[in-house]
Symmetry: C2
Subunit: 361 residues, 2 copies
Amino acid sequence: MGHIPEQQSAQRDARRRPEGAHAGAGQRSAAPVPTSADVARLAGVSRATVSYVLNNATAVRISEPTRQRVQEAADELGYVPHAAARSLRAGHSRMVLMPAPAVPVGLLYSHLFNELQWALRRLDYTVVQFGSLGMSGDDAARAWAELRPVAVLAPGDGTLTPRGVHVLKRSGAKAVVTLGPQRVQGAHALLMDQRAVGHCAGAHLIGRGRTRIGVVVPREPGYETFSAPRLAGVRAAAEACADARVVPLGLGYDERSANQLAVRWGELGLDAAFAYNDEYAMLLLRALQDAGVDVPGETAVMGADDLLLGRLLRPRLSTVRMELPTGQRLAELVDRVVRDPAGTSEVHPLLGVEAVARDST
Amino acid sequence: MGHIPEQQSAQRDARRRPEGAHAGAGQRSAAPVPTSADVARLAGVSRATVSYVLNNATAVRISEPTRQRVQEAADELGYVPHAAARSLRAGHSRMVLMPAPAVPVGLLYSHLFNELQWALRRLDYTVVQFGSLGMSGDDAARAWAELRPVAVLAPGDGTLTPRGVHVLKRSGAKAVVTLGPQRVQGAHALLMDQRAVGHCAGAHLIGRGRTRIGVVVPREPGYETFSAPRLAGVRAAAEACADARVVPLGLGYDERSANQLAVRWGELGLDAAFAYNDEYAMLLLRALQDAGVDVPGETAVMGADDLLLGRLLRPRLSTVRMELPTGQRLAELVDRVVRDPAGTSEVHPLLGVEAVARDST
């Protein structure tokens, strides 16, 4: 939490102190949180019986009237079991924890995540996205472990360390799966190497005879994880061609920034742009056209993601299509490794890429 | 969880049974999950001391060497406290729980959520998005309550009931805040009435002399919460004009569906479309142009959300701009009501709307 200034931290402590444990006269919710003992007392049964009924334990037979009495008492008191306590008793939870992305998600991720979430739900898991923003890898792993997830699906970007994996497993996680370019010892890896995206775009542009390639690097913070390897991928593709050179281009996601770049396009002497993704490519394409640059005549523009919206501009946007796994396939993979915690770490290269040539390159 | 077929449910149970509580010879993670008692034993201190150190309790003075010994023992064993147990001891957690949206999120929500998440983080809260997909309101509230959040920010769409609010408060939540069109007893309400969006679009189109207004209703499941009130809002605006009529138009988010709608546009006899949001509007605008319909000459097209991408098409898309609160303002509001749990329920109308006339209407 290095990003929280000292002063705020002090304010925070000051704010926390007076609250106490459900303290404070006049607070509407000052009544203590009901416990299973309260439920047992009201229902006239043992705490064990309450636990059996509310956790749907099947090992013990409980008569229907008793079951109903316990349920009614719990309802009356507003008692719900602790998730963590319950998972402790059951030996496992059904929570799949995913760190929430630190940057606004794009349309492609939004759809994949939605699919994954529903597919895991159908397999009786609950996906929890945890906002461990700004924490170091080990601090984040400890914070995730506190929720006792049965599986963690974390970015494979170097944040999670082998030590973090160990902490998670010691806390009961049956599977830790990374999604990204790097492998972490002890975790399964779904490898998604963003360099492949850049390499695919670079090779496509060079194949079209372009040799002076600008590569858009979004100015918005948090995109480095994706933009740096994409840039490296274009550079790698350019090595195959003696004439080719690659120029990084900072671009903010707004019309002004795009217009500023477009008006000095002539000075840059470029004949192609790989614009990070389709959204930035649409922005740059329009700005270049407004500045009188002929696309693709003078300059080719290429995006990535194959968004529907990219097909709506004219010329239609060429793009890198990513062949991501379906949410269903990802969910099945998570389920399989959770059910085989003793299995060896699996590595699946997941990101297929393909250049889709439309009219802008 | 009514959407899970019987058969899957049976499979689920079959799958669960053999797992047991950390059972199973040969499982790599078969060692029991370390407890604070294990840490206390290794460090040669009491469990209370372990608890004081690991929960950063300031009420008790603990020498630095002891603190270090406990920390080292915890690290060695891979022990992390239970989140729920810790919040029980502290009397409160710092978790703000938000149900994860059931549909892929759009760019506008994605940006607002990201802002909110960072702003709450700066106030030392952790945002957890909980995937309670397909659960009834009361089941969902119980599942949320199990994580013992200090605040819940739930959709105000009728899912959450007064009973659900009660369950959450009884479990220790200091504030329940709804975000959406409806108020729920016992909860603070950030009112966002989607009818206003439709009304604004309808009034704008009628003001431009259009009287035969098609309203796009996305075919993708899960959008009804937004699309139905937006349609109702256009209808309400049309009541002010005797000549105006409103026709709902089903549209899937793909080019084929848009083209099918566009080729029969002449038969529909419409002179305007409010296309749900900018993404659908961009799709429809392009399809109409490809089908030879003059926009805005023959037909006006209007979106909503004021996305940057909508400004990139020609004609530039007219839209309904929503004046959402900043993430910072929302976070401050959540923080304020958490710190005053005895305060009366607050109601804030949040959604300002404004027609942005560009070139498509």
